[in-house]
Assembly symmetry: C2
Homo-oligomer: 343 residues x 2
């Protein structure tokens, strides 16, 4: 079954800007994908008023599910799970679970989204924990899939192995890399380094004939293009990704200062500005790409909390792509195959 | 006892370039510090010949301890510890242990150096595990001490607490920051996030009146200047630091491409080169600063394996500073004080 008309539920209230960024992104997506159907989850009267202000009084491919409540960025995940059953985030996930839509997109509270998605959608058979995965830029121009970026802290060897399988499926299906090179993020490339979980995961991956496992990779090679899929624990992945953001900010600041201190400063500064801006944006993957929450029986794409229109649009595109490629089914098939081959 | 004439043992054979970078760095250090005494550990005939080629036939403040063997970058730490007792690295550490010198500096195999230093010098009372600490650049121009950068994997809460005390002493003594702001690196700033070890370490730090603990910090704030000391497990710290190197390389490459795509590319490239180079070097802390191995009963400074003359000189400067500030004694005093105040 190829879903020719992708249908998404959008958590319109999530993120720092709420409908101010989700509405323009949704309208742009409807133009970009002529068969896309969208269900707006959120405060229906508010959304209708804001749509009208954008010059759209009614749209044949926009549907609504009204929510009285919303998950705030400060809500604790466990509390949000228990008490926010009438929130826009929860409704969007419920629609996926009911089969009313193919996928959902939210820029809301990441912890709450993970907890709710896990509870509502359940894990795929063979997957113990969900993972957040995102495509990062690399020196050779091809994206690198890195996971987990923060869904699962203290991942054990089996979980890291499952992440590797899921990441390989993403790289194959979403960007069409054949036999993607899978690496484990470690503190050294030698076999003796790293924690016990990492060493055991490496053994499991070496024994697996269905994956193109290339061994350990260090932080300095995340962006070098040596690997197509980089696997790590959620704590490590989250720190690494956010450290990138910190470095990009620091370099941008230094570059601006450096440019100012040189002769022809004004000219140089003007010439360098677009390059610096584009490289900063390119180095801010968390902000400029959607991260997919995978391992679940449904497609969930997380946009950055600070998502602008473009960022939310990019997350919608990501969801459409995963719907068309039927990513959860592919992950399920691949895991079953790996388990059969192992047995 | 203020050691007025600092005396260091140098592992002359360590690092990718061995004596080719350690000899010029040592000669520069002797000029910079007129009272510095250096013991060259390594292949004495080779070192004497290379010194002669540099125009130095004898120097009153250069002493020698000959070693037949050396630790290679590929040696396993456990094997190096057992079998390389006649190596330049081991001799340099033995000299510290014997009280013949105040500190040692090596650009050799990090894992072997940690294992040997731990075995030869032993831990300070009250410290369970050693930590690698380095001063990183920040947006506000002041250095930030980050530890552990790879000495201790799977640090528990007590170990993280001890790292915090040691890091605070480094920031106070080496760069003179009063009541340095200490933060724990986590995947979120909220109290509920992170692993159990992190949460427990946070509790221990909150209860400690002798430290200016400011709570959790995320990767994107490592360089923002929010904290003076950033504490994490060695695996996480190592990945974060190496990721910085990876991002710096990627950004440099993108900036160069960006410049090339603009009009007058050759001129622009030439004009921008110094600025780009300086920002890359500034963002490569592992390579351009020595990392101190702390928590031991002696001072050990690790220079990057790929250390150039300047990098090794910077590591020697770091060692001289720690000798003059008597860092291990200060760490010991501070830990005793913290333990008394806790009781």
């Amino acid at each position: 079954m190829q879903p020719l008309k992708p249908s998404l539920a959008l958590d319109m209230m999530g993120g720092d800007f709420g409908p101010r960024s989700t509405i323009p992104a949704a309208l742009a997506a409807l133009t970009e994908f002529p068969e896309l159907e969208l269900t707006f989850c959120g405060d229906k009267p508010l959304l209708k008023r804001l749509l009208a202000e954008s010059g759209v009084s009614a749209h044949p491919r926009i549907h609504f599910v009204h929510s009285d409540d919303q998950v705030s960025m400060a809500d604790k995940p466990s509390l949000a799970l228990r008490t926010k059953r009438d929130s826009s985030m929860r409704h969007a996930l419920d629609l996926v679970e009911q089969g009313a839509v193919h996928a959902c997109v939210s820029a809301g509270n990441t912890g709450a989204l993970i907890a709710m998605a896990h509870y509502v959608l359940k894990m795929l058979n063979g997957v113990e924990r969900p993972a957040l995965v995102s495509a990062l830029p690399s020196c050779n121009g091809k994206p690198v899939y890195m996971l987990d970026l923060g869904a699962t802290v203290n991942a054990d060897a089996d979980t890291l192995f499952q992440f590797a399988v899921m990441g390989a499926v993403m790289a194959e299906e979403v960007i069409g890399i054949r036999a993607p090179r899978v690496a484990l993020l470690n503190m050294g490339e030698e076999e003796i380094k790293g924690s016990d979980q990492i060493k055991r995961a490496s053994q499991l991956l070496q024994e697996c004939r269905d994956l193109n496992y290339i061994g350990y990779i260090e932080g300095n090679d995340i962006f070098s293009g040596k690997a197509d899929v980089i696997v790590c624990d959620g704590f490590v992945g989250n720190v690494a990704l956010k450290t990138c953001e910190g470095v990009a900010k620091l370099i941008l600041k230094r570059a601006q200062q450096g440019v100012k201190q040189r002769p022809f400063a004004a000219l140089l500064s003007w010439l360098c500005k677009p390059a610096l801006k584009s490289l900063y944006q390119g180095m801010n993957p968390d902000q400029y790409n959607g991260a997919s929450l995978i391992g679940l029986r449904g497609i969930v794409v997380k946009s950055h909390g600070n998502a602008t229109k473009d960022a939310f649009l990019s997350a919608i595109r990501q969801a459409v792509c995963e719907v068309q490629r039927q990513v959860p089914a592919k992950i399920k098939d691949r895991l079953e195959q790996v388990l059969i081959d192992k047995a």
